[in-house]
């Protein structure tokens, strides 16, 4: 029998017991829907996580430290490469060298210091850090009030909201309770005065000598961030940010300057670490290798995300297994329906054989029925899964909004998932049809014809 004849007859048979076959198809739909729902949740969460990481700017950043620093991020690196005493200083020359590595977009020293800030004639202590203008696209500035710096050396300052609250005398509240709008309004456009210590190289004989000169600098508050842009720094994280070029020009005394003075080879400033930004996450590995060849230690978040990617692979696998369980139950439903159909249509099968149907014809007919139920169930199930996803996404966003978070896309149904779901349900149905179809094909026609 030709394929389209099998399909036509199968369609007729399915319509004959429409209720039972619809229920079986519904079962497959629910199975496929649960599979699609589970997997799209996994994929959505993974995309959410990697989107966050990508926008955090950590994916395309490499932290470079000097081997002379003896405080490597990565112990393995201590055991290879040049000896610390023979390795280069991380100074302005080194920064230029790193900037020339192919794939590096910008290199800036990580400068930060603890200082006293005066606002409204009251002193406040905080960590100050430089912020390059490239970081303004990062999602740590999501929900920021005010604006980013006008230029790289503007005398402007962006505050983290907890520090803003402290300036307003509201520091007793936890960070979740601080409303960024509330604290930003009275502060934006106001001035504060920051004190800092400038490191000035002396022209004396000693190669490593320098003077420390105290300064005060008035700064205009232009922005208050809702999030914590410097959260990766842990205890050293800054709550007050000034433009990167400004902080470099200030030549502020760094915490490690004193320590480094004993091993310095010149009176030039040495950086504790510089951050190299790469044009794309895919280039991080090669750029890291190139910087290592220059004699520095490197660290990137890429190593940390390896385990994250593995986690999501395992999560997807388990979600897939749970989703498949429902499909397995549905496939048993197909087997049951078809076995029942064989019993019911026993005589019909006998008649078909008597008028010339081969085993393959009968088998093909049952296969076509199973496949049709699978395909239809797959289509309905994918639509249902997508719909469930939309509903949950909608619900989650209402919840997030109430909690004061921006809306997220935690649900993702990519085209390949639709294709996989359809293919999988079709395949599972055919597999389920295997036993009933071969049973129907092997039916003894004489017995079948006698059946009433």
């Amino acid at each position: 029998m030709k394929l389209y004849d099998s399909i036509e007859l199968a369609g007729r048979n399915l319509r004959e017991s429409v209720l039972r076959n619809s229920l079986t198809t519904l079962g497959i739909s629910v199975g496929v829907a649960s599979l699609v729902a589970m997997l799209s949740l996994g994929i959505g969460l993974q995309q959410l996580a990697s989107r966050r990481l990508q926008r955090s700017g950590l994916f395309d950043s490499i932290v470079v430290t000097s081997r002379r620093d003896l405080r490597s991020f990565n112990r393995e690196q201590e055991e290879s490469g040049p000896a610390p005493a023979e390795s280069p200083d991380l100074n302005e020359a080194a920064r230029l060298k790193i900037a020339n590595v192919a794939g590096v977009v910008e290199v800036y020293p990580d400068l930060r210091f603890i200082t006293e800030v005066r606002y409204d004639d009251k002193p406040h202590l905080t960590m100050v850090a430089g912020l390059p203008s490239s970081s303004k696209d990062g999602d740590s500035f999501e929900g920021m009030q005010g604006r980013f710096f006008l230029s790289e050396d503007a005398h402007e300052v962006i505050l983290q909201k907890s520090f803003a609250a402290e300036l307003l005398g509201k520091s007793s509240r936890g960070p979740d309770e601080i409303n960024v709008n509330e604290v930003a309004k009275p502060l934006l456009g106001k001035q504060l005065v920051m004190r800092y210590a400038e490191r000035e190289s002396s022209n004396g004989q000693d190669t490593a000598s320098f003077s420390v000169i105290s300064h005060e600098m008035p700064l205009t508050i232009v922005g208050v961030t809702d999030l914590d842009p410097d959260s990766m720094r842990g205890s050293a994280r800054a709550r007050l940010f000034i433009p990167q070029k400004l902080i470099e020009d200030m030549r502020p005394m760094q915490a490690y300057d004193m320590r480094d003075s004993s091993r310095a080879t010149s009176n030039e400033a040495i950086y504790s670490n510089v951050v190299a930004r790469v044009s794309g996450a895919g280039k991080v590995d090669t750029v890291e290798q190139a910087i290592k060849k220059l004699g520095f230690n490197t660290f990137s978040i890429l190593d940390a995300t390896k385990s994250m990617r593995r986690f999501f692979a395992i999560l997807d696998l388990f979600l897939g297994i749970f989703g498949s369980l429902a499909l397995t139950v549905a496939s048993i439903g197909i087997i049951n329906t078809l076995v029942m159909a064989i019993l019911e249509r026993r005589r019909e099968i006998g008649i078909m054989k008597a008028v010339g149907a081969s085993d393959a014809d009968v088998r093909g007919l049952f296969f076509a029925e199973a496949g049709a139920m699978g395909l239809l169930g797959g289509i309905c199930g994918t639509a249902l899964g997508w719909f469930i996803g939309r509903v949950i996404n909608f619900g989650t966003n209402i919840y997030l909004k109430r909690q004061g978070f921006p809306p997220e896309h935690i649900w993702s149904v990519p085209v390949w998932l639709v294709a996989v779901a359809l293919g999988f349900s079709f395949l599972v149905s055919l597999l389920s049809g295997l036993y009933p179809a071969s049973r129907a094909a092997r039916l003894d026609p004489v017995q079948a014809l006698r059946y009433e």
Binding site: G356, S358, P445
Partner: protein, 220 residues
């Protein structure tokens, strides 16, 4: 083990109209099933057109049933969910005949049995005689050389039974189609068959030319 058919040796010539007679359980339907290739003998062989059926694969047997033999049953065995036309078309589907040709062939077959006005009806909407005529159209659609009819008039009143038998006889005579008629009605057999074979307990008890018909034929 029950021996439904036991030690039978028969030879039927092409174009013959043979009636298999016997009480129920005498093995006549089992013999017909063997000839139809629906069943296979535990010993011995069935040879049709110089081909032993036991040498055929399951696929080849299906092909044999499709092209060499046509079957009619007492209970018609039409598929209730299909229309008259679809029932007659069914063997053509298995023979992989083109859809357009299929329709034309089935319609002409139904015309021959006088049912061209009932194409879209379901079997249940037809009388017994009409159903049996549909079954006949279906049995003949692939132009088989042998017609195996298992009590074709068993469920019909005598008038429609006669109509059906007349149709069968016409086929036998005009197309030289071999007909094997299973029946327990001796009158019917004597009226139409050329040869009568009597079965009892799976054995042939008598095998004789139909003298009654020869006489009747001489009279007419």
């Amino acid at each position: 083990m029950i021996r439904a058919v036991d030690g039978i040796t028969l030879q039927i010539a092409a174009g013959e109209f043979v009636a298999l007679l016997g009480a129920s359980g005498s093995g006549k339907s089992s013999l017909l099933n063997l000839l139809a290739g629906l069943d296979s003998p535990s010993a011995g062989s069935v040879i049709v057109e110089n081909q032993s059926l036991s040498d055929l694969s399951r696929d080849e047997l299906a092909k044999y049933r499709r092209h060499t033999v046509g079957m009619m049953f007492q209970s018609f065995n039409l598929i209730p969910s299909m229309t008259v036309l679809e029932n007659v078309e069914l063997p053509l589907r298995f023979a992989e005949v083109e859809r357009s040709k299929r329709r034309a062939l089935a319609m002409s077959a139904l015309e021959k049995v006088g049912l061209s006005g009932r194409l879209k009806h379901r079997p249940i909407e037809l009388s017994g005689g009409e159903q049996q005529r549909v079954a006949m159209a279906r049995a003949l659609i692939n132009q088989p050389r042998i017609l195996l009819a298992d009590e074709p008039t068993g469920n019909l009143d005598s008038r429609t039974g006669t109509e059906v038998m007349e149709l069968i006889r016409r086929l036998n005579q005009s197309l030289k189609m071999t007909v094997l008629l299973v029946t327990h009605e001796r009158d019917l057999a004597e009226k139409y068959a050329d040869r009568l074979i009597f079965l009892a307990d799976g054995k042939v008890v008598a095998d004789q030319p139909n003298s009654a018909r020869t006489v009747a034929g001489a009279k007419s």
